[in-house]
């Protein structure tokens, strides 16, 4: 029985921050993080990046000391990731904002359109419909965050939340302003356009929800490893035959339908930005799948079947 010694150095200055004696060979990085935390209470485990190489990737909590390429005296490097916030918390804040901000405009708070228009309501039914759809979308997201999603990373840096909130909340305010404006013009093709948009909206929301449930089921056993998602009996999941990230596909579809429903340029711009961002995420995920799984279905594209 050989016990290990672990020294932890600062990744930049290389100064020794802590020396752990008599560490079990089968200790996990999670345990090492919690030991380090005892020495430095301000650096809770989520904000510790522990790596083998100063410029390398952070080690996962599940890694075991004796399986790492280290001798019996292991040298690890520490980097402070800064204050962290849980993904669930982030999502809750990000999505509650737009929900309530939209209402400020829908109910025409006095400071929005002026005192003359305060608390009035729009003569156009599509404006009420848009409010219902927008709210439904964000309530669905909140429910998914609480009950459905299983995150592989626990936390993200705190400064991200400022950036993300500015983006989501800012755009929600901008598009709500125009849709609920007294001078709003309803869609050019009238009821036909609106009905088409509503049907597309509902289908995409159902699709998006189905995919989230399917992805969540892959991790029902509580594991954090990646698995290839496959189509299930639910027809909405059959998009998995063609695409790696159908949840993003459906999400873009939702916003396109909302743009058609409201015929509003700011909504269109938001849709475009969503599309760009999700394409980047989808490509990332797609290439990660390709790298990790040799038998990954080759027909699949990242976000748009056959195209992108």
């Amino acid at each position: 029985f050989v016990s290990y010694q672990v020294e932890i150095l600062d990744w930049k200055t290389k100064e020794q921050l802590c020396f752990l004696d008599k560490v079990e060979p089968n200790a996990t990085i999670r345990e090492i993080r919690s030991m380090f935390h005892k020495f430095y209470p301000q650096w809770y485990p989520a904000r510790q990046s522990i790596k083998l190489d100063p410029k390398g990737k952070s080690l996962r909590n599940e890694e075991i000391l004796q399986h790492l390429p280290v001798g019996t005296t292991a040298t690890l490097y520490f980097k402070d990731l800064g204050p962290q916030i849980g993904w669930t918390t982030v999502f809750l804040i990000e999505y509650t904002g737009p929900l309530f901000i939209y209402f400020l405009f829908y109910f025409r708070m006095p400071f929005v359109y002026g005192l003359d228009e305060r608390f009035t309501s729009s003569p156009h039914p599509v404006v009420n419909l848009a409010c219902i759809c927008h709210s439904f979308h964000y309530i669905k997201r909140l429910i998914e965050t609480i009950f459905v999603h299983r995150f592989s990373h626990g936390t993200m840096p705190l400064r991200n939340i400022v950036k993300n909130c500015l983006y989501y909340w800012g755009f929600a305010a901008w598009l709500a302003y125009y849709i609920n404006h007294p001078l709003y013009t309803p869609p050019s093709y009238g009821k036909k356009q609106i009905n088409f948009a509503v049907i597309m909206f509902l289908l995409c929301e159902a699709g998006n929800f189905s995919i989230h449930v399917a992805l969540s089921d892959l991790r029902r056993d509580g594991s954090k490893t990646r698995k290839i998602p496959y189509p299930t009996k639910n027809p909405f999941t059959w998009l998995f035959f063609f695409v790696s990230c159908p949840n993003y596909t459906y999400e873009v579809g939702t916003w396109i339908s909302f743009t058609i429903m409201t015929q509003c340029v700011p909504v269109g711009l938001f849709t475009l930005l969503c599309f760009i961002q999700m394409t980047i995420w989808a490509k990332d995920k797609h290439y990660t799948y390709l790298r990790e799984f040799k038998d990954y279905p080759s027909v699949r594209m990242p976000i748009i079947p056959f195209l992108l």
Partner: protein, 252 residues
Amino acid sequence: MAAGGGGRADNGYGGQQPRRGEGPGALATADLVYQGFLCICALPNASIMFLLSCRWLVIAVGLVRAYLAKGSYHSLYYSIEKPLKFFQTGALLEVCIVPSSVVLTAFQVMSRVFLTWAVTHSVKEVQTEDSVLLFVVAWTITEIIRYSFYTFSLLNHLPYLIKWARYTLFIILYPMGVSGELLTIYAALPFVRQSGLYSISLPNKYNFSFDYYTFLILVMISYIPLFPQLYFHMLHQRRKVLSHTEEHKKSE
């Protein structure tokens, strides 16, 4: 060349018709063509830099000739209007070629294209302002030095004078250019408000509104955080580069 031929009946001060038709049409077109060509062909980088710096010399020479020809500087914008527009817009291509931070270069090029097209070209009344001359002169001098710097660097024969000039003259030229730009935008404001330039108001079937006047004011405000950052970045670079040369000289 840039000054063109053709006499003028007035004394050259303010309020005249912008001249069209005269000007380096052929030269500017040739410039655009070979810029595109450069990107495709594998010319050695140094030659590219040298050719890029020539454009600014064209503008500088144009300015000087126009001034000598007319004895005043109020209408100098018209003399260099076409080459300025072509060269500045063509500068978009350089964001990829120039050996500097992509973000900073892109930002600088974008702000210049904006000043050239969205302000000075779009608001005719502003073209006779002194502030236009202020920023054109500042840009011209800065760019000639900058491109010479890149050219010589790539040839590995960088005279200290050029390096010194690049990292020192900006101390005057940056504020000069920024003042010219801000004054020009400020001068354009009343005309934009009056004519409703580039603005769209509700109601309309796209449910969108945009007020160019407010946008320009926001652009002016954005200079407050952005300009000091760029300026201090250059000052920091100056300390790094020039002190490094000092040490290098001492060690020789």
